[in-house]
C-alpha cells in the first residue's frame, strides 16, 4: 500500500512482477508472453521501449492500459491498482483501431466524447487542432477506408492526443508514417510532451527514434518477454536527427543499443536451438 505522504516521491506507474500467459485454445496450451516484468516510470518521464518483434511490448502496454489482466503481478498508477482502462491513460494502437463508421473528425472527437469535455465550448477547436497537428487537415470528412495506412495511423495519434490524458501509451505510433512526416511528428510530439509534462510510454522499432525521444530507453528481450536493460538518455533537448548524428554520445548510445539487441538475438537463437 503506498502511503499518501510518500506519493510525491513514488513513481507514477509501477509495474510489479507482471507475467502474462496467453491461453491457446486451439492446442490447449498457453504461451508465456512476458514474465516478471518490473518497471517504474516517474511523472513526466518519456520512456521509449525497444525490443525484438514478438517480445511482448504490446502486451505490457496493454496491461498498463488495463486492457489485459496480467496472469501474475500488478500495475499501479498513482498508487491505485489498475483494474481497467481509465481516462488518465490514452492509447495509440499499433493496428490503429479506428471506428470504420466514423469520419476522421468523429474518430478524433471520440477521444473527447466520453469525458464531459464535449460540453465545454472549445472542443471543436481542440479536435481540429489535433487533426492539423497530425497533418490531416482537409481529410476531416473522409472515412478510414479511404485513407492510406500512414494517414490512418495519424488519426489514431490525434485521437489520443486530443484527450489530453496524464499518461500517453503509444504503440509504434509512427510505424506506417513516412520519413519526413515522421520527423515532423516526432518533433511535434516532443514539443507537446515537454510543454505539457505528460508521462509517455512509446514503443518503437527504430533505435534512432528511441534515442531521440526518450528520457530513458527500456530494452526488452524475448522468449519470454522481460526487461533486458534500462538506459538513461542524457542528451540535451531539443534533439534533431541530423544534429544528433554528429553527437558522439548519440552515436555511442546507438552502437550500444545495437550491440545489446544483437547479443540478445544471438543468445536467444543459441538458447532457442536447444529447445
Amino acid at each position: 500500500m503506498p502511503d499518501s505522504a510518500e506519493n510525491v516521491a513514488a513513481p507514477l506507474i509501477e509495474v510489479r512482477g507482471v507475467t502474462v500467459r496467453y491461453d491457446i485454445a486451439r492446442t490447449g496450451t498457453s504461451l508465456m508472453a512476458v514474465e516478471g516484468v518490473n518497471l517504474d516510470i516517474a511523472e513526466g518521464e518519456f520512456v521509449t521501449v525497444l525490443g525484438p518483434s514478438g517480445c511482448g511490448k504490446t502486451t505490457v502496454m496493454n496491461v498498463i492500459a488495463g486492457l489485459v489482466q496480467p496472469t501474475e503481478g500488478t500495475v499501479t498508477v498513482d498508487g491505485r491498482i489498475v483494474t481497467g482502462p481509465g481516462p488518465d491513460r490514452a492509447v495509440v494502437f499499433q493496428d490503429y483501431a479506428l471506428l470504420p463508421w466514423r469520419s476522421v473528425f468523429d474518430n478524433v472527437r471520440f477521444g473527447l466524447e466520453m469525458q464531459s469535455t464535449l460540453n465545454s465550448g472549445d472542443w471543436r477547436e481542440r479536435v481540429q487542432n489535433a487533426i492539423e497537428l497530425v497533418g490531416l487537415a482537409g481529410f476531416e470528412q473522409s472515412y478510414p477506408r479511404e485513407l492510406s495506412g500512414g494517414m490512418q495511423q495519424r488519426v489514431g495519434l490525434a485521437r489520443a492526443i486530443v484527450a489530453e490524458p496524464r499518461i500517453l501509451l503509444m504503440d509504434e505510433p509512427l510505424g506506417a508514417v513516412d520519413a519526413l512526416t515522421r520527423e515532423v511528428m516526432r518533433d511535434e510530439i516532443e514539443k507537446l510532451i515537454t510543454a505539457t509534462g505528460k508521462t509517455v510510454i512509446f514503443i518503437t522499432h527504430s533505435i534512432e527514434e528511441a534515442i531521440l525521444l526518450g528520457d530513458r530507453i527500456v530494452v526488452f528481450k524475448s522468449h519470454p518477454g522481460a526487461v533486458l536493460e534500462e538506459i538513461t538518455v542524457d542528451l540535451p533537448r531539443p534533439r534533431s536527427e541530423r544534429g544528433a548524428q554528429s553527437d558522439p554520445r548519440y552515436l555511442e548510445l546507438r552502437d550500444h543499443l545495437w550491440d545489446v539487441l544483437q547479443n540478445e538475438a544471438t543468445a536467444a537463437s543459441r538458447g532457442g536451438q536447444g529447445s
Binding site: 494502437f93 466524447e113 482537409g138 519526413l180
Partner: protein, 278 residues
C-alpha cells in the same frame, strides 16, 4: 507545418455511371422476372403442366390483383394489417437489438439466456397461439404479439452473432477512451453490429408479416390475412395468390425502406467493396 493540402476532387457525371451500373441490373432483373412470368403462363395456360386451380396463370392472378386493389374493403384491411405490422416490427427491432447486444456481449447472459432464445425461436408459434388469445384476446393486440414473436428472434440472434464478432481492437479502443456500459454499446457495439442487425431486421420484417397473417388466421375480423383466409377456403387460388403478391410487395417495400435507412445512417457500410475488388 504539415504536408497537407486540399484534395483534388473530381465530380463524375452521375447519370453516366448510373446508366452503366445499377440501371443495367435493374433492366436485367425486369427481364428475368418477365421470363419467369412467361414460363409460368406457358406451363399453366398452354402446356397445362399444372391445373390452373392450383396454380392460376399470371394473367388470372393479375386480373384478381386488379380487382382486389379497387375494392374499398381491401384498403381498410391493408391499413389495418400494416398498422399492426409497423408497431410489431418497431417493438421487435428495439427489443431484438437491445437483448441481442446484451446477450452477445455479456458472457454470463450468453451462457444462461441464449439457449432459451434458440429454444423460443424453435417453438412452433401455433403452440403459443391459444396462450396469446387467452392473454391478449383476438384482435390487434394478439396480432402485434405474433408479429413481435416472429420478427424478434431473427433480429435478436443476428445481433447476437454480430456482437460476438465485433472487432476486439475497436472494443479496446472504446474502453481506453472511456466508453463503458451503455456508451460502449451505443458507440462501438451497435455500429459494429449494424450490418448483422440489418440482415436480421430485413428478415424479421418479412417474418413479421407472416406473423400478422397468422394472427389474423387465429381469429377476429378485418385485415389482409382474413381476405387471404377467405380466398383460400373458397379455393380461389387466383385471389389467394393476388393477396400473397400484396404481402410480398409490402415485404419488399419494407426491405427497400430498410435499405434506404442503411444508406442514410450507415454510409460507411459499403457492401459492394468486395465485389469491386473481386
Amino acid at each position: 507545418m504539415t504536408a497537407t493540402m486540399p484534395l483534388k476532387i473530381v465530380r463524375p457525371s452521375r447519370s453516366a455511371r448510373r446508366g452503366s451500373g445499377e440501371g443495367r441490373w435493374r433492366l436485367l432483373l425486369a427481364g428475368v422476372v418477365l421470363a419467369i412470368l412467361l414460363l409460368w403462363e406457358a406451363a399453366v395456360s398452354w402446356l397445362q403442366l399444372v391445373p390452373a386451380v392450383f396454380l392460376p396463370p399470371p394473367t388470372a392472378v393479375a386480373a384478381s390483383f386488379l380487382e382486389l386493389i379497387v375494392r374499398p374493403d381491401f384498403w381498410s384491411a391493408f391499413g389495418y394489417s400494416l398498422g399492426n405490422l409497423a408497431i410489431g416490427v418497431v417493438l421487435a427491432v428495439v427489443i431484438g437489438v437491445v437483448v441481442g447486444l446484451a446477450v452477445g456481449w455479456f458472457p454470463v447472459l450468453r451462457f444462461t439466456v441464449a439457449p432459451f432464445l434458440w429454444l423460443l425461436y424453435s417453438t412452433p408459434k401455433v403452440a403459443l397461439a391459444p396462450l396469446i388469445i387467452l392473454i391478449l384476446g383476438l384482435g390487434a393486440a394478439s396480432q402485434i404479439a405474433l408479429v413481435l414473436l416472429l420478427a424478434v428472434f431473427p433480429i435478436m440472434l443476428n445481433t447476437m452473432e454480430g456482437a460476438l464478432t465485433v472487432n476486439r481492437s475497436l472494443v479496446n479502443a472504446g474502453r481506453v477512451f472511456g466508453a463503458n456500459g451503455i456508451a460502449l454499446g451505443v458507440k462501438v457495439l451497435i455500429p459494429g453490429t449494424l450490418p448483422f442487425s440489418l440482415v436480421g431486421i430485413q428478415r424479421g420484417a418479412a417474418l413479421g408479416f407472416t406473423g400478422q397473417v397468422l394472427g389474423e388466421f387465429l381469429g377476429g375480423a378485418g385485415g389482409l390475412g382474413h381476405l387471404l383466409e377467405r380466398a383460400a377456403f373458397d379455393f380461389q387460388m387466383d385471389d389467394a395468390i393476388a393477396m400473397v403478391i400484396v404481402m410480398v410487395i409490402i415485404a419488399n417495400l419494407t426491405l427497400t425502406v430498410i435499405g434506404l435507412l442503411r444508406k442514410r445512417f450507415a454510409p460507411w457500410h459499403d457492401d459492394r467493396a468486395t465485389v469491386k475488388a473481386g
